[in-house]
Amino acid sequence: MSKGRYGIHGGQYISETLMNELIRLEEAYEHYKKDPEFNAELQKLFNEYAGRPSLLYYADKMTKDLGGAKIYLKREDLNHTGSHKINNVLGQALLAKKMGKTRLIAETGAGQHGVATATAAALLGMECEIFMGKEDTDRQALNVYRMELLGAKVHPVTSGTMTLKDAVNETMREWTNRVNDTHYCLGSVMGPHPFPMIVRDFQSVISKEMKEQILKAEGKLPAAVIACVGGGSNAMGAFYNFIEDKEVKLIGCEAAGKGVDTALTAATIATGSLGIFHGMKSYFCQDEYGQIAPVYSISAGLDYPGIGPEHAYLHDIGRAQYVPVTDDEAVDAFEYLARTEGIICAIESAHAVAHALKIAKDFGKDESIIINISGRGDKDVAAIARYRGVDIHD
């Protein structure tokens, strides 16, 4: 009876008020995903608006410097709005519009998903309201203003820990308030079914392109695909079309914050346990009574106490590996990529770069690894400067 399961994970643990809407959403999605007209429209938006396909760039200097596998960077940072978030948002916004919705609401952590949602709403002529933790509106003030420029109303969320999970809570509450004309444009492969499936499908364009591009460049599949994981949408998109290719290692990099042996971490697989929250069964950072733990990472986009149910399943069956990466390692990698390849990536993506720096030399020179650069780092420059003790204005 229960739908949207990935092994024991997933499901629809959500209030009765929203159940019929989730059923309608699933029906609409199942219909439109087979509709050639919908797909043509979405592909057109991907290609002509978002700038897809995104480049698969061979990082020659990095490869030589690390002395192992050939390093490729999947440049999701070059998409319109500066991250992979636009893939999912264009898909969901178009779907919502087909369903007759006139208003989009969304949570955002770093602001990337909020900016992408506000962008799609502007493009498709929809109302837009974004919920963002007060702590995040402070540390990502520029993104707040970007969303407002795009015509969205931004609500700073002051409940709980005032970060991403509280933004999700508040968006869910708002959706229960007003569901008839409103679509909740959920930003990651999380929440109740059908969201983990819908978001994965729209993000899977990343691995679809990766596969074509790497086969063209190398004539064979990569040895590994590496992506950062908060809720896990860019990683799911980067992994999905390689899941059946067992020789491709899939590695998700979690935000360890100050370290997995401290309380200041957001590494769910490393430190969490099985639970039910935000509509899904999965792994969560929580205390002995199942209270959701306040989590920490330098990256507002990875600062989430759970992980999408399909990732939890890929972990359970050993198909993907999840590794913790600390703030320090991520900041070092952020600087390394800027200096070595002239690319300022998002601090989220820098977690994936950091792990690649550790493992590249374990691979042969005839092998390749792909790092998913999920977003660009302009938004993080001020925070990195502060981290290094440099006082600059945002």
Partner: protein, 268 residues
């Protein structure tokens, strides 16, 4: 369910047997502001005429709650309230009272405690039901099986958006049916616009399980009106507001408030 042997000690039906069969159901959060107060307030509300009390086990992220009950959750957790603490509150209440009691909380605290362990404790202490806003019909089996094995009713919720789900849900309901009056989260509302009468009629076509209406009810007039079209009124935020204002000195105000609500329901 009275015929079901596992439920022979369940007391929920008794809440709907007083006076005109209409129940006043009160909610408060365990440990807000402290455990002693919660014990005292439950007994005080019983004395004022409450027929059933829902005790909230606080959760860090109560997504179905408005600001008033969110804040109560935070106060309770800051004060150190836990699932074991809530069981201890029930144990102390049960020393002196047999009022029907339900827990209200979210999936995760129950799941994390362990379903069997949780409902074994409920059975030992005489907790009659559990209300879980993030457990819809589709997912209830995993909790209902262990709960039923210990004679605890998992309360079904029906919302203004339930449509065809009303009867599917109602057919399998145990204890009582919680009809959500309005869209949105818990909290005091000046007006309730949903066509609750037709929802209740739809429920009645398929079950005799009593149904009570909650969300947004705060005045005696509203309580009476809701009890007229259903079997009872559920009040949470208005009670929690009194506790928020008076802290450990809310007993008298709670007594007066609950009495005024119960008196109104008696006229329904």
């Amino acid at each position: 369910m009275q015929t079901d042997n596992k439920f022979k000690n369940n007391k929920i039906h008794k809440a709907f047997m007083n006076h005109n069969g209409k129940a006043f159901i009160a909610f408060l959060t365990a440990g807000d502001p402290d455990a002693d107060s919660t014990v005292k307030y439950v007994l005080e509300m019983e004395r004022a005429g409450a027929d059933l009390v829902e005790i909230g086990i606080p959760f860090s992220d109560p997504t179905a709650e408005g600001v008033v009950i969110q804040d109560a959750n935070i106060r309770a957790l800051k004060g150190g309230m836990t699932t074991d603490g809530a069981f201890e509150i029930v144990r102390r209440i049960r020393e002196v009272s047999q009022i029907p009691l339900c827990f209200m909380t979210y999936c995760n605290p129950v799941f994390h405690y362990g379903y069997d362990r949780f409902f074994t404790r409920c059975e030992e202490l005489g907790v009659d039901g559990i209300i879980i806003p993030d457990l819809p019909y589709e997912e209830k089996a995993e909790m209902e099986e262990p709960a039923s094995a210990h004679g605890v009713a998992v309360i079904s919720m029906i919302a203004p958006t339930s449509e065809a789900r009303i009867q599917t849900t109602a057919k399998e309901a145990k204890g009582f049916i919680y009809v959500v009056s309005s869209m949105g989260v818990t909290g005091v509302r000046s007006e309730i616009k949903t066509d609750l009468k037709s929802i209740v009629e739809s429920i009645r076509e398929v079950t005799d399980v009593p149904c009570a209406i909650g969300f947004g009810i705060s005045t005696p007039e509203q309580a009476k009106k809701m009890a007229e079209i259903s079997d009872g009124s559920i009040v949470g935020s208005a009670i929690v507001k009194i506790i928020a204002a008076k802290g450990a000195n809310a007993a008298e105000d709670l007594y007066n408030y609950v009495k005024s609500m119960k008196d109104a329901i008696k006229e329904a």
